[in-house]
């Protein structure tokens, strides 16, 4: 097992997005509302929080651990880094001191994600197989 992760997130890295279970539709797919940027309380950052599997694994954390850290109202959606970049997103590692593997996702040009762009993310996201 590697002892560190590359700064650039590898294309095949699984990227997790925590979402409220209430926002998962009856067919098991997420609503577009799950994929909005969030402004930090001090206003210094504005992006969509994600978690990178390679860092989680390095820290010995599983998807179930991630879900448990958020609570039973939440589930975990999965993409690959390649999925997100193909949709025009930029990814970077952003450790917060909380759950390991925290990262950020934002439009590559820095713009706010449109509804259609959220919809495209909703179409490629899947509820993590460990939870479905």
């Amino acid at each position: 097992m590697p002892t560190e992760v590359p700064e650039d997130v590898p294309q095949d890295c699984t990227v997790y997005r925590v979402a409220k279970k209430a926002y998962i539709k009856s067919g098991g797919t997420p609503q577009s509302d799950c994929f909005a940027d969030k402004r930090s309380e001090d206003g210094s950052s504005y992006y969509m929080s994600v978690y990178f599997s390679d860092e989680m694994e390095l820290a010995g954390k599983s998807i179930l651990d991630l879900q448990a850290s958020w609570g039973k109202e939440y589930t975990v959606l999965a993409f690959t880094a390649s999925d997100l970049r193909t949709q025009g997103e930029r990814l970077w590692r952003d450790p917060t001191g909380g759950f390991p593997g925290h990262g950020a996702c934002k439009r590559a040009d820095g713009s706010e994600r449109t509804r259609g762009q959220k919809r495209n993310l909703a179409k490629v996201a899947k509820v993590a197989s460990e939870l479905s």
Binding site: Q31, D33, K38, E112, R113, T114, R115, K118, R119
Partner: protein
């Protein structure tokens, strides 16, 4: 939360909204009233004569969207614009999936057979949008402003197909 019917009373200490007809007659103007305490206290919108919003609009605006806005992101103006848009949908429109995004937007979406339709209304009207998709194809995105008629037309075609 208080529901008014044909009333012009001042807002109470919570979100107040009503979609009401003074006596239920189709010939009288229907009214949307959404109000909150504070500087932006009250808004009224008179709908067009004969307009019959889907039955779920009232509860969605009054209770369900505010309940999902657990961070208090959505401004009154956005809630009013959202109510107005929903109110022009055909009365047979089924209840959508709904939510509030972290970017202070209200979203609703429908999966209706081959068709997928979404509406987004945000605090910033520039992000208001319609998304339309057929057979899981590429989403078509339009600004909501100037295209409400298209939204009504699309939904009418879908619910009547």
């Amino acid at each position: 939360m208080t529901l008014f019917a044909g009333s012009e009373r001042t807002a109470q200490n919570s979100t107040d909204a009503a979609i009401a007809s003074a006596d239920g007659s189709r010939t009288l103007p229907r009214q949307i009233r959404i109000s909150r305490p504070g500087p932006d206290a009250s808004v009224s919108t008179i709908l067009s004569d004969g307009q019959r919003p889907p039955a779920w609009v009232e509860r969605l605006v009054l209770e369900e969207i505010p309940a999902r806005d657990d961070r208090g992101l959505i401004k009154l103006d956005a809630l009013v614009r959202f109510a107005r848009v929903c109110s022009v949908l055909p009365s047979r429109t089924p209840k959508p999936y709904y939510g509030v995004g972290d970017d202070a937007t209200i979203g609703v979406e429908w999966d209706l057979g081959r068709f997928h339709l979404e509406i987004q209304v945000g605090n910033d009207p520039a992000v208001d949008a319609i998304v339309y998709e057929v057979d899981e194809g590429e989403p078509e995105e339009l600004p909501l402003e100037g295209n409400v008629g298209i939204l009504t037309f699309l939904m009418s075609r879908i619910v009547n197909s």
